[in-house]
Symmetry: C2
Subunit: 137 residues, 2 copies
């Protein structure tokens, strides 16, 4: 409980029940979470709007980052400590298992650089690999 509050305070956020609980979920989860997962795991204890706003706040503060998926849902996952407010450095590859449908942050696999056509200037890059994960193998 103490470390959660610390993470929140360090980012200038009030420590509230919903924020603590949602942060808890992320710290307990290996993979990424969707908004629906959070509603399910909090058993409706917090209003849908509160969950939206909490996720948005966490993203803004660099506590979590977003992962786009092909089925039009956004996943959220914890950022490593080198994320700062407004500056995400989640330059690692994400892995989606086609069997268990979980999403993993492969923190040790960095997104490789690619050579772009003339005139295109890169800023950020994200990469998603799908396949079979270590648990479903």
């Amino acid at each position: 409980m103490i470390q959660h509050a610390d993470i929140l305070k360090r980012n200038g956020l009030s420590v509230t029940a919903s924020r603590t609980k949602i942060l808890d979920l992320f710290l307990d989860t290996a993979g990424a979470l969707a908004h629906a997962d959070i509603e399910k795991n909090t058993d409706g204890a917090y209003d849908r709007v509160t969950v939206y706003r909490t996720l948005q706040t966490f993203v803004e503060k660099g506590i979590i980052h977003q992962i786009p998926t092909i089925d039009n849902s956004i996943l959220y996952a914890l950022c490593k400590q080198d994320c700062e407010e407004g500056h995400h450095h989640d330059n690692h590859v994400h892995f989606v298992c086609i069997q268990c449908v979980k999403t993993f942050c492969l923190d040790d696999v960095l997104v490789p650089e690619v050579k772009l056509p003339k005139g295109f200037k890169p800023n950020e890059a994200s990469m998603i690999v799908s396949g079979v994960c270590i648990d479903c193998k």
Copy 2:
């Protein structure tokens, strides 16, 4: 007009006004299109449902492919000819311009392979690079 019908027929689809028009849009567009773009550019001529179903059909037939984005919308773009029904081979990098917000298919830039941790077996990979495009440079 003739080539549009050919593309549709080749994929076993009836040639209808909405399909021809929407295919038209894709052939005329350098970047990717969202559902909303299509509604805008057809000026409400076709029902929202028809647009959804047309896009879905085109994806199934391998005429277009989907690109996930961070803002929770799906973009669609033409597949190159090596896409077949049920088998997408859009293994190229997508580029999102942070100024004009257009999405480009960089058909000549292939998604590089990465070395995954033990136990993870890759199947497909997608990569999105954001930055400044050739027009906004």
